[in-house]
Assembly symmetry: C2
Homo-oligomer: 288 residues x 2
């Protein structure tokens, strides 16, 4: 297992972590200034500055992209809705390629309409079927372009509105179905926040192996958790045994960045951005 | 599948649903008056009135107990702590027997100390080991007394502080380990709120079968969910396809009560208790 205690060369910052403090160009500069070598930006943050400008800045600073957030949101209750989702995913693949991201992260979506305030049906099996079809179609395109897709199983508390792929086992079953050759074109993003509770986690990380482990995300589960979406904790402040999980992931062959992704409306989004990044660096060394 | 649309003879009320409105003796009277044939009371509600008084009232009204809430909370960081938990579980078994409950529901516990505000360690595997030992010891006693134990897998969002058994598969693995003969002494409580998201739910309900399906609980998953503990919805107000899950449970051999268990600080606990019970009856017929 790599020693993270001496430096932060394997730290990546998911730019949602400081989205309240700076625009993306500012985030990149602040990261570069601190010797942070990688980020994972969100599409809306890229769009707010401009894809070409960000691509140029990424190149000039030598910043790497541990991932690009995000594709997915496949389920829809009409063929037109499903087609629009595929179009949008192709654009996300293209953007990821322009930015030379390591992978496009897929948050696959839940019940159609749920995130917009009203679920159009309650058939989660149908949503899962849409997801399978959507990944299959997007994978066809992503293979041609050469952009790996990372399915991110989300915590089951998001099954209704954000992602109906909720365990590593389920995500890997999809990978086996759509990429049985383990080509590297399809895999998973392991976010400790979403999967730490899973009694089959160690076994499924082993099953994933190097070819399927495309990203590793960290933050912490706070007790009590006060909000389902925006109360993620800084590494070390919660109850996830992060080093243990990182050990499993590395044992299985993963050797990439450890990406900090914290949504925190009451705490970290209210602080000075420099303080947040400095804390990420310190906790990467002491708690990951 | 039984037709619930014409009457509410298979409705049970978990008495937490109206805990803000009445003490338990009042709840029993209000249920009996409405032709509700079963309840599932909590230990603190029984204690507040007195076990003997409640036992007499249950008998005189002919009320059945679809379950008794609750045993469990096994993990501790010291041998003394684990022993105290076992003592408490034996008392819970005795109370359940006095009240002639169908089963004692086990909410197994999470990381030691977490529910009291400070987790004593982060080793969820150790907590799960405590749970296995605790159920094994409690089962020895419960078998002698003749009180079935129902492991309730809780939603993964409670893994840290309330229950580190979080899927049907995990609960049934424990059952197979501790009661391989499928004697009926150990099984599961299926609460749709906790398990609806699980891609393996149908398969695991089938696996459980009649001998292991000891209780069936209903409420609904609201979108958005505003509180991790106290924002459960009334059946029909959320996104769970309850009839589909009930169909699986009945297909597997379950023919007992459908128990309504709603924790709701901002909605149902603020309403008139009679209105809540009448709504439970109506939704039992229309949405379960």
């Amino acid at each position: 297992m790599r020693d993270f205690s001496r430096d932060h060369r394997w730290l990546s910052i998911n730019t949602a972590t400081v989205r309240a403090q700076w625009k993306l160009d500012g985030i990149i500069d602040e990261c570069a200034r601190r010797g942070i070598r990688a980020i994972s930006p969100w599409r809306d943050q890229v769009a707010a500055v401009g894809l070409e400008r960000i691509a140029a800045q990424v190149k000039s600073t030598g910043m790497e992209l541990s991932g690009y957030c995000r594709g997915g949101m496949f389920p829809a209750s009409t063929p037109e809705g499903r087609r629009l989702a595929l179009d949008d995913n192709r654009r996300a693949v293209d953007e990821a390629k322009t930015l030379d991201a390591a992978c496009l992260v897929l948050v696959v979506g839940g019940l159609p309409g749920a995130l917009q305030g009203r679920a159009e049906h309650k058939d989660i099996a149908a949503a899962r079927s849409d997801v399978q079809d959507g990944i299959a179609a997007t994978l066809d395109y992503a293979r041609k372009v050469g952009m790996p897709l990372a399915i991110e199983p989300l915590h089951p508390m998001y099954a209704g509105d954000r992602a109906c792929v909720n365990t590593m086992e389920q995500a890997l079953d999809l990978c086996d179905l759509l990429d049985p050759q383990r080509s590297g074109a399809l895999g998973v993003a392991v976010d400790v926040y979403h999967v730490w509770w899973d009694p089959k986690l160690e076994e499924q990380i082993r099953r994933a192996g190097r070819e399927r482990l495309l990203a590793f995300h960290v933050c912490d589960w706070l007790l009590p958790t006060r909000d389902l979406l925006n109360d993620r904790g800084m590494m070390g402040d919660g109850v996830i045994d992060i080093p243990r999980i990182r050990g499993w992931v590395e044992q299985a062959g993963f050797a990439g960045y450890s990406e900090v992704e914290i949504f925190s409306s009451e705490n970290w989004w209210k602080r000075d951005g420099g303080e947040v990044l400095d804390t990420c660096i310190e906790r990467h060394r002491s708690a990951v």
